[in-house]
Symmetry: C2
């Protein structure tokens, strides 16, 4: 049972599910990064540690946002899949990305996907969701180029351009991350 919720409010219940700093990032990496394995998810931008990842994956499976299965190619590999419950978060991800892009100090390369999602609007989100259903639930893959690959390509183009602009040569002498908003104070 364990039906001890703080209240039956849908917003509260949603927060009980992913009101923490990691759960949504795992879903994000599965949706936008196409990650399916533990070790892949461990290499997140934000550096989740293995015990936390293990705990969250377990919880997400219990809740019904993910399913876990054996990978036929490797006896020790597990494959995690999104359920419809998790795929239904795509619009929320898009809104969160748009909101963060507008009000928070995002970097250009890590927010280009959010921008494309925002520009694409609900139609693109639906297409992406169909694609995810194909990948994770065995449905028929929609026609046309993959949304995830399109987003990924845009990301890589930004990374390439930025490394050209700032370091056309080969020696790296600075590691400060450039933000796409709020340029350096003039010291």
């Amino acid at each position: 049972m364990t039906d001890d919720h703080r209240s039956g409010c849908p917003i509260n219940l949603s927060l009980e599910v992913f009101g923490d700093k990691w759960s949504l990032l795992i879903i994000r990496d599965m949706i936008f990064g196409g990650k399916r394995h533990f070790r892949e998810l461990l290499r997140s931008q934000e550096g989740i540690s293995s015990n936390i990842l293990a705990d969250r994956l377990k919880t997400l499976v219990e809740i019904g946002m993910l399913t876990k299965a054996d990978d036929p190619s490797h006896k020790q590999k597990a494959i995690y899949s999104l359920t419809e419950m998790a795929i239904a978060l795509v619009p929320i991800m898009a809104h969160l990305g748009a909101w963060g892009r507008r009000y928070l100090p995002v970097t250009e390369e890590l927010s280009i996907r959010a921008q494309l999602m925002e520009d694409g609007g609900p139609k693109l989100w639906e297409l992406f969701m169909s694609e995810l259903r194909a990948e994770h639930l065995g449905e028929a893959r929609p026609e046309g180029p993959s949304v995830r690959q399109t987003l990924q390509a845009a990301y890589e183009r930004v990374v390439a351009r930025k490394s050209m602009e700032q370091q056309p040569v080969d020696h790296i002498h600075d590691s400060s991350e450039s933000r796409s908003r709020a340029p350096e104070p003039k010291a």
Copy 2:
């Protein structure tokens, strides 16, 4: 300063702002409940404790989601106001509510607002946001009936109906909360 973010990803940065169990509930109570004072916010459905509330309000003000001002009517009262940054969360609240309603064990009375928001769609959200800008930012109030009052009235109608349906008489003999989905197993 304190620019130590885990990454410049907009979803990550959003979670750094309200990736916890309480911050969004405070915003929810201000948006949908019209609450502006500490003691009002303390009486949340979920029972936030005063130290957590104080801490979150402080953080939300620092981040720029809220502003704090003296209440002219009482020398010890503070009034909290939403900024545009917080008002821009209305669509996310709507999506979160819709998602929770679909996948989690919500109660009917606490999810009727979410249903009306979902039915109303982006047009209603925009109207609600205008109303909040009037209330919190001093802009001109949109014409027509108040969205919040409409939602509140619907909530009260459900509460009234449910208390009629289940307890037409006066003695209460059961305190189990009825959920609007997942009826009791037939034991």
